[in-house]
């Protein structure tokens, strides 16, 4: 009896779902994130312009290490945002490499920070600089992270924690690039504590809500 009822319920459900069917076109995994990417870069450009670009920017463009950092940040931004987009699809595991690329880049990034910190020696930081970069970073990242979380929420992710991790990586690298353009301090200790750590902590906090945020 119970099985019959269940069967009836499933048949009814199928009938109901068929009744609700409306034509839809397959969603492109990259369209939304491409829009986000362009909008975020424009927004970052606007914030950098508003805060003022660092005075020695022209000089720094001749510094290979500075360019390497910018390129690493850009590669991380692009790969993490692409992975985030792909993770909004249930069958994202078919392209597992999309997650591996940003994770590897992030690993190189952390190694880079550690190597440079050791090379520079952990010098005490000027009190003046504590906090102000974090505020600027939040200004650079707050709108892009909200937008990216909304994009993921409108998707159908089956890997909410990974999706949130990729969102955080994408936005953190965006902030990192922005702060390298506005902040004149190149010491890695400063960059790590003010340019990366606050966002890593905020990101980890957001990560706890990933499953609830991306519930569907």
């Amino acid at each position: 009896m119970s099985t019959d009822n269940k069967k009836m319920k499933t048949d009814d459900l199928i009938g109901q779902l068929c009744g609700e069917l409306t034509p839809t076109s397959p969603r492109c995994p990259y369209r939304r994130v491409a829009v986000w990417f362009v909008a975020s870069v424009v927004y970052l450009g606007f914030v950098v312009w508003y805060l003022g670009i660092r005075p020695d920017f022209q000089e720094r463009l001749h510094d290979t290490l500075f360019l390497y950092e910018l390129m690493l940040g850009s590669a991380l931004l692009m790969s993490a945002s692409l992975a985030s987009s792909w993770l909004s699809f249930p069958d994202c595991m078919q392209r597992n490499w999309m997650k591996i690329v940003p994770v590897t880049l992030f690993g190189s990034f952390v190694l880079w920070i550690v190597a440079r910190s050791i090379a520079e020696g952990m010098t005490p930081m000027a009190t003046l600089h504590i906090g102000h970069c974090a505020h600027e970073g939040i200004l650079m990242e707050i709108i892009p992270i909200i937008a990216l979380v909304i994009i993921t929420m409108r998707g159908r992710t089956t890997h909410p924690y990974w999706a949130m991790a990729m969102n955080i990586l994408a936005v953190s690298s965006l902030g990192w690039i922005g702060l390298r353009l506005t902040c004149s301090m190149d010491e890695m200790g400063h960059s790590f504590i003010n340019h990366l750590l606050p966002f890593a902590i905020i990101g980890a906090g957001l990560g706890f809500f990933a499953r609830k945020l991306f519930k569907w």
Partner: protein
């Protein structure tokens, strides 16, 4: 009956009795689903009904292998069907259908198991048709009898007391609901249930 699950003989079946057709049907099934899903995205309700009709038993079979409760498997299967409906636009006919479906099935099954364990449903049990549990847990230790002793003791009480006791203690009605049903005062119902409990304790000691 023993609970031992016999593994399916699919790998060997094509070797005998015209199994090539069986194998080719199995291989074609996801292609057919892929076509139906593509048609459903264009609004073809017949294709969609055919797709969901075939998916329902398939999903249930996949889920039931990892769950002991068939009712739960049915519920999860329905959840998966709703999820398939919600996320139909995330399926691209360029990609294989089955991995997309399996990802949704695994996601919903994990969701169910997480809820199941967080509500500690794995630590609860029902006494319905669970005679072994009843025998070891429900009867009082000093009483050599089974549930029938409680039933017998209850049968010795007046009809109205029995009815109130059953409704409150067994069927889970509130005192107010029983009072309304029996046209009585709520306090009188509570007193009656309490007295019945005391009497039963006396009879069973």
């Amino acid at each position: 009956m023993s609970g031992v699950r016999i593994p399916p003989l699919r790998p060997f079946f094509p070797l005998f009795l015209g199994g090539e057709k069986y194998l080719s049907d199995q291989q074609n099934q996801p292609d057919q689903w892929q076509e139906w899903a593509a048609a459903a995205q264009k609004g073809d309700k017949r294709a969609y009904a055919a797709l969901l009709g075939e998916l329902a038993p398939y999903i249930k079979n996949v889920i039931i292998k990892s769950l002991s409760n068939p009712d739960a498997a049915e519920d999860i299967a329905q959840e998966v069907l709703i999820s398939v409906h919600k996320s139909l636009d995330t399926y691209s006919p360029d990609r294989p259908f089955k991995p997309w479906l399996m990802a949704i099935i695994n996601f919903r099954r994990t969701d169910y198991l997480r809820k199941h364990y967080s509500q500690r449903q794995d630590k609860t049990t029902t006494t319905d048709e669970n005679f072994e549990f009843e025998a070891s847990n429900v009867t009082i230790p000093n009483n050599a009898g089974e549930l029938k002793d409680i039933e017998a003791a209850l049968a010795q009480l007046p009809e109205q007391q029995q009815r109130i006791f059953r409704m409150i203690k067994i069927e889970g009605y509130t005192a107010q609901e029983v009072a309304n049903e029996m046209n009585m005062n709520e306090s009188a119902v509570k007193v009656s249930a309490h007295r019945t409990m005391k009497k039963l304790q006396g009879l069973l000691e």
